[in-house]
Symmetry: C2
Subunit: 556 residues, 2 copies
Amino acid sequence: MTTEKVRLIPLGGLGEVGKNMMVVEYGNDIIIVDVGVMFPDEEMFGVDLVIPDTTYLMDKKDRIRAILITHGHEDHVGALPYVLPMLDFPPIYATRLTQGLINVKLKEHRLLDKVSVTAIAPGDHVDLGICSADFFRVNHSIPDAVGIVIQTPIGKVVHTGDYKFDYTPVDGKPADLGLLGKIGNDGVLVMMGDSTRVESPGYTPSERVINDSFDKIFANAPGRILIATFASLISRVQQVIDTAQRYERFVAFVGRSMQNNVQMAIELGYLTMPKGMLIRPEDINKFNPDQIVIMCTGSQGEPTSALTRIANQDHRQIRIQRGDSVILSATPVPGNEKMVHRTINSLFRQGAEVYYQGISNVHVSGHGAQEELKLMLSLLRPRFFVPVHGEYRQLVLHAKLAYSLGIPEENIVVAEDGDIVEVTEDGIKLKEHVSSGNVFVDGLSVGDVGQIVLRDRKVLSQDGILMVVLTIDKETGEPLAGPDIVSRGFVYMRDSEELLESARLRVLDAFHHIEQRGHGGSDWSFVKDKIKHTLSEFLYEQTRRRPMILPMVMEV
Amino acid sequence: MTTEKVRLIPLGGLGEVGKNMMVVEYGNDIIIVDVGVMFPDEEMFGVDLVIPDTTYLMDKKDRIRAILITHGHEDHVGALPYVLPMLDFPPIYATRLTQGLINVKLKEHRLLDKVSVTAIAPGDHVDLGICSADFFRVNHSIPDAVGIVIQTPIGKVVHTGDYKFDYTPVDGKPADLGLLGKIGNDGVLVMMGDSTRVESPGYTPSERVINDSFDKIFANAPGRILIATFASLISRVQQVIDTAQRYERFVAFVGRSMQNNVQMAIELGYLTMPKGMLIRPEDINKFNPDQIVIMCTGSQGEPTSALTRIANQDHRQIRIQRGDSVILSATPVPGNEKMVHRTINSLFRQGAEVYYQGISNVHVSGHGAQEELKLMLSLLRPRFFVPVHGEYRQLVLHAKLAYSLGIPEENIVVAEDGDIVEVTEDGIKLKEHVSSGNVFVDGLSVGDVGQIVLRDRKVLSQDGILMVVLTIDKETGEPLAGPDIVSRGFVYMRDSEELLESARLRVLDAFHHIEQRGHGGSDWSFVKDKIKHTLSEFLYEQTRRRPMILPMVMEV
């Protein structure tokens, strides 16, 4: 029995969707896989972004050999600008397209000169301390996605990244089944596998099926065609370009991130476009409507995106006109359904024909369904298995799937963010839990918005706030002015003068009934508590609402 | 050419999901179909319920002949307690089960003695002024649902209510196709049809298919079985009772609304239960786990529901134990996905086996899919068609479906809340728009929370609030105390003393730079504006956040 061990410490993406970040430790060496963001949910009031809590790494910076990136999606690279400075900028390895996307991001944050991003290709081998890494191609909804084999002294640790199996991908580069089989034959100690789509039976269809839908829509569209998708979905862009070529239409890209990504992908050779097909957004009206394709962002109904602005008649250049066909080539991310539906409704209202997932096959997922997860597990045949990338139920279902393929129950661990998973040659187990969770980016600050601020925002959002100011004579302890009451988000003040006047009288009354009121220099906390309590009861009784009540006492 | 006309005025449910309410006018007579609520979406901060705006009816109360109710779901009856008093309590007609559900609701609001609810049955005929109403049975996810034929002097106006076609419904009462055919043969002037599920191709499966899933789960469950569904889904309750009987399990109902509805349905004969099967929630632990079925509410992840409390280990009587199987026999209503997923994750975490729509066939919709909508249109063969119950895109798709069946484009009108649809024997058209929209119920008040209060709550929820209080000498115009600054939901004050101190100095500085400051009795609005502006700029520059800023000047 050996005491050598690999430790896997997920800092994000296990028990949630997003901010993927996995720490792999062997002896003195630390290798990190992905550093992603998560978008705030509706409970995280006012928060811009959520990044992983990296407290665990703070005293281990010098042991970090590398950050390996599986692909260029935000939930895998988006936290780099925030986390890299905290970790003293460890070296990054990524494929060329991923490198391009990371560099765009680092440039925006003025960090480009501080970071070394080394381009690797599937099949490459990189030495990292006592360990090493090999990369294998996977198919996903972005080109140049890879899985990673970390070779440790006690065996191979495989991270699949996000993946599906597409035998006919748009970029012509299917996953290398032979290589995956070889890795499996050579023996895999532990595999970490993407669980995102474990709830779906069968196979995710090939990207190719979208060509048929596009063909049908392009053949019948009487006017312009607008297509919204993710800015990073380069293969979808290629499909649109190819279809546009068949139907002799020009293509304009609208929206900064779409334009930046397309330009970068063309430069790096990930996107090919016939000469003369590209037109500028401002030139759209120089052509007939049936000569035009417009590609833009906004497939998630994001408030500031191009498609949302177009739908809201709020876009600088583009208005919906009768005869327009709009394709939403994406599925709403859970939580975005309402915003997406709002966009679709507005587009219909303005007379567009709208095609979207649910009524038309205009999108396929980037993640493998059950049969693909089984295929990956069967190719790699790991001794131990840790499901990653998913909410808890998805991790459990993925674990059950692995069990159904013959991996013993005791060789499977369902872990969540912050759990330490210890793997030896003989066993796998959950050890202690380390600091993990959500760090909020809000405006310029990283991490200073915590639970208290969020809780206050929640209370404020429900019933608003009511402030009471009382000015007190320092000497006599008697009120000199006020109480003045102001409220926001509670009642419409102009319609509620009576209620607020009664509240004022209650405050005065309560004040006069306090025996021990205080004197110059006291903190008046007893008085404030009394005012708060009195008002809270009175207002609840009158309105059945509980606004935040903020009493202030001014001494003069 | 006739000048007689029917006017249809939707006050809710067209261009949205929920708060269904349709006004049908002929000459001096008004008939209302359904008076439902909508549940607030995430933009309606702190609002409890949303009801239709009934301003249009305020000067026409004496013309209202009846309120006809299609079925007992909240989005069809929920606004009655709020709207009835505004309309001077017009008579209500509803089927027996619906009547029972309405009465429970009226009792809670102490309105029972003020309202007349007449029970009708499918096939009944009611005279209402110059018009009359007939009712026909439809299948829906609640028993005793009906559609309505309003006979007017110029022809029949048919409202389908919510419907699907289930040839093998659990209550053994399929829709009467012969009657629907006869109505169609006799001639329908205008049909209003449920659009909820128009995006789904094919047929909605029969409720029966759930029996097979229940059988499979019951046959293999090693311990207790918990089943969550809508409290009004009486037929699902019957299915559970029937399955429990086959597997010799006792059934306990948990949650007030579930218990109330079950009791009422048993009393009215809509639910049959073998003697001795019912046990009280507090007696669950007296039996072996494999003898128990628990039915509860919470299939939507509602925070205060039984299942959510159980999942959060916060329920008075029930804790999840290993071996429990939990069935969520419902589909998340759009917008509820995250809450439902949170519940499922928690249940898995505590060791339950969880079955839910997506991985198991444990629910079917109550609304017809495309083929059923076509069937209804083909049976009724209306001259004119108005799609109802759906967001705008769904209404448009339903209109297209009707067009595809041969109804001429000019005979179809896509209307939204507040539109007046005028129907004569010769044509249908959109006329002027009347007052319509959302009236918010918040605590005790109906309608006093308006757009300004909601906008304030939104701002407060994003970046919080910052108050500045300055006490001024009435005579000299010089500050006596302050400025005091308090913030909530902006920054954590204890960590931000420096920032707030700088803000204080900025305020003082700004104050001293104002030449025309004011004097006793002035409203100080110029000073307040200056303070607000100065602080807003300073704080945005420092934090990139825009808290609400509320300056107050106290004169002494």
